[in-house]
């Protein structure tokens, strides 16, 4: 029997994470809470603009067993980690690309394929696309979350260029393999993030879709033996994140999201310092 959790999203969280549509697609797992004051909701959706860590901590202090943060910007989460730990509350980050099921900890085949390609990488090339008007710093946060989510250890990151249309960041993988990241602002292309690992004999590509619809991710590997397309799901990262929030809250097993997010923030700090 699935435990139904009540959910509250304020308008900003609703807009950032398409919460009601997603929750409606998990009707046994979630139901709407009447409002912030009527009862203590089990799970609170938090919009990820600046100050989200404080808002998430407040929701936990007010009794929520879980928070789902939509599109969190880079910020310090030390206090939130403490608050969540002592309350035993779950903090799930709903990141547009990193939250895709293809990168979930349970996607063993995808992880294996990426890890295999990284062992033999000659270049890592990644492109993140977002609509004009998107804050490039946030786009880079989302892109780095993808790379961290792929298990990549990036080093010596530096900004090569940055302007109103995007950015280029260069770095290396552990063995010195070149890393090239680009963010592009355009409405002409779908808002996807792609990661390409070129290897000595082939490549691995991961393309993560815009979560506005349930487009599946694409994961393809080329080796000397041939090309393989891995199975992926028609599920948006929003839905995957909420399903994970339900599992985390009901199982009591802690989520790893804030640890991963700290790895992203630390990359960003290295970059700007």
């Amino acid at each position: 029997m699935t435990t139904q959790l009540s959910v509250y999203a304020d308008p900003k969280a609703e807009a950032a994470g398409a919460v009601s549509a997603v929750v409606a697609s998990l009707p046994l797992s979630f139901g709407p809470a009447a409002g912030p004051s009527a009862e203590v909701p089990d799970v609170v959706a938090v919009a990820g603009h600046a100050g989200w860590a404080g808002r998430a901590a407040d929701a936990i202090r007010s009794g929520a067993s879980g928070v789902v943060v939509a599109a969190p910007v880079a910020e310090d989460t030390a206090e939130l980690i403490g608050v969540a730990d002592s309350a035993g509350a779950a903090v799930v980050l709903d990141q547009q690309w990193a939250g895709n099921a293809a990168l979930a900890e349970s996607s063993d085949n995808v992880r294996r394929v990426i890890a295999g390609a990284l062992e033999d990488a000659v270049m890592l090339d990644s492109v993140a696309v977002a609509a004009p008007g998107t804050d490039p710093a946030h786009l880079l946060t989302e892109q780095l979350a993808v790379l961290v989510g792929c298990g990549m250890e990036l080093r010596n990151l530096r900004v090569v260029q940055r302007n109103g249309n995007g950015y280029t960041v260069a770095g290396v993988l552990a063995g010195g393999t070149p890393v090239a990241l680009q963010g592009i602002l355009t409405s002409a292309l779908p808002a996807t993030a792609s990661v390409t690992v070129l290897t000595s004999t082939g490549r691995a590509d991961v393309v993560l879709p815009d979560p506005a619809a349930a487009w599946p991710a694409e994961v393809r590997v080329v080796t000397a033996e041939g090309a393989t397309t891995l199975p992926t799901l028609y599920e948006s990262s929003h839905r995957t994140s909420w399903a994970r929030a339900h599992a985390t809250v009901t199982s009591g097993k802690p989520a790893n999201d804030l640890v991963r997010f700290a790895a992203v923030t630390s990359l960003l700090n290295q970059l700007t310092s």
Binding site: V122, M123, D125, V127, P132, V160, Q161, N163, N165, G166, T168, A170, V172, G176, T177, P178, A180, Q182, I184, L185, T186, S187, A188, L189, L198, T199, S200, T201, G202, R203, V222, A224, A227
Partner: protein, 386 residues
């Protein structure tokens, strides 16, 4: 095979061809066909030009092949029934040659282009790169203006019907492009040369110590002048401020390739290339603006795998152009045939020189970053020259 005697199986010798070709050239050369002479008969001639010309036998006929290596000149000429020689002057003096193709190593291009123009030929194809420095380019420009001989440079993507179709369809896209990407993944050259022909006289590439800064510099200039050069004229179509190009980052990729970041005015340009041992090549050019984007998938070097496919995306609508049945190599020869018969428009010398200056300034600035210690090196052992 028992009924076939040895003499019936006799493999023709090149001397046979010489007689045959002398006959065909001097006595029976079809006036409708344009005669081609080629300087340098290495892999580019063998794998790229002869197969392209074999598809255009109704327009063009190879009549003279010159190489400094007599064995290469003779065997390659033998394949097509052409005269051969080891001297440029002899080829240029051959009246059967209307069009000269310069396919020698880079350092000879400028002098051979100039000599071909002065010899009063009808059209000249210079394999890329056009020249190795600005001074050579200026000399070519002067001779081209003086002689009026049309010249094209073998940057094959500019002759690809997929690119040309995109150019006709893209409307005001160039004014709005702010981001360009050229991403190349190719297997090592010999593999694809061998799909296109049977090569003679291939020179193995010596192994080199790619931690040596001079080797890294050579890899970067070689990568730009040998590989990126096919896309740089395309890049320039979208960068009005090409003279202001700055190299912001340059790095080599193992075993051969590069990651280069450029800025020209408001346009960001990212060049990526890797020559690895993949069986799956990929060559993508993208030009992206706020509301429209062009993406072109080119077919790989050497093989004759038809044209690129271009996609123009605008407001939820994608226009697909191509693929067409021939690639830019054949496109070059079709263009040369037009020019030599007095039709068609040659690219202006200014365009070719600006293309060259653009490539040279990128290659030089990329190499300079090695001196300033801003380029990371990784081991490499292969040359690049697609």
């Amino acid at each position: 095979m028992s009924g076939v005697t040895r003499s019936q199986l006799r493999i023709p010798q090149s001397s046979d061809y010489k007689e045959v070709s002398n006959l065909s050239n001097q006595a029976q050369a079809s006036p409708a066909l344009l005669g081609v002479g080629i300087l340098g008969a290495g892999p580019a001639t063998q794998a790229i030009h002869l197969p392209s010309l074999a598809r255009l036998g109704d327009l063009l006929e190879v009549r003279h092949i010159m190489d400094v290596d007599p064995a290469v000149a003779e065997t390659v000429a033998g394949r097509v029934g052409a005269n051969f020689s080891t001297s440029m002057d002899e080829l240029l003096a051959d009246p059967a040659v209307d069009i000269v193709a310069i396919c020698s190593p880079h350092q000879f291009h400028a002098a051979q282009v100039i000599a071909s123009c002065r010899a009063g030929k009808k059209a000249v194809l210079c394999e890329k790169p056009f020249a190795m420095n600005g001074e050579e380019a200026a000399r070519i420009s002067a001779v081209s203006a003086e002689t009026g001989v049309p010249i094209i440079v073998g940057a094959m993507h500019t002759f690809d019907p997929g690119w040309l179709a995109a150019e006709e369809a893209w409307e005001d896209l160039p004014e709005h492009v702010h981001t360009i990407r050229s991403s190349i993944v190719l297997p090592p050259n010999p593999r694809f040369e061998d799909f296109a022909t049977e090569i003679v006289g291939r020179v193995p590439v010596p192994g080199r110590d790619s931690t040596d800064p001079d080797v890294i510099k050579a890899m970067l200039t070689g990568g730009v002048m040998g590989l990126a050069i096919h896309d740089l004229p395309l890049v320039r179509r979208f960068t009005p401020d090409f003279e202001a190009v700055e190299v912001l980052h340059a790095e080599i990729v193992r075993p051969f390739g590069y990651v280069i970041s450029l800025r020209a005015g408001n346009v960001s340009i990212e060049l990526r290339a890797a020559m690895n041992a993949t069986w799956e090549p990929s060559w993508v050019f993208e030009a992206i603006g706020d509301d429209a984007a062009l993406k072109i998938d080119f077919t790989p070097s050497y093989v004759h795998a038809g044209s690129a496919t271009a996609r123009i995306r605008r407001a939820g609508r994608t226009t697909v152009l191509g693929p067409f049945g021939h690639n830019g190599y054949e496109g070059e020869w079709r263009k040369l045939a037009e020019l030599a018969s007095g039709t068609g428009q040659a690219p202006s010398a200014e365009t070719l020189i600006h293309d060259l200056e653009f490539a040279l300034s990128i290659a030089e600035a990329a190499a300079r970053r090695v001196d300033t210690g801003r380029t990371a090196g990784t081991p490499a052992d292969e040359e690049i020259n697609a």
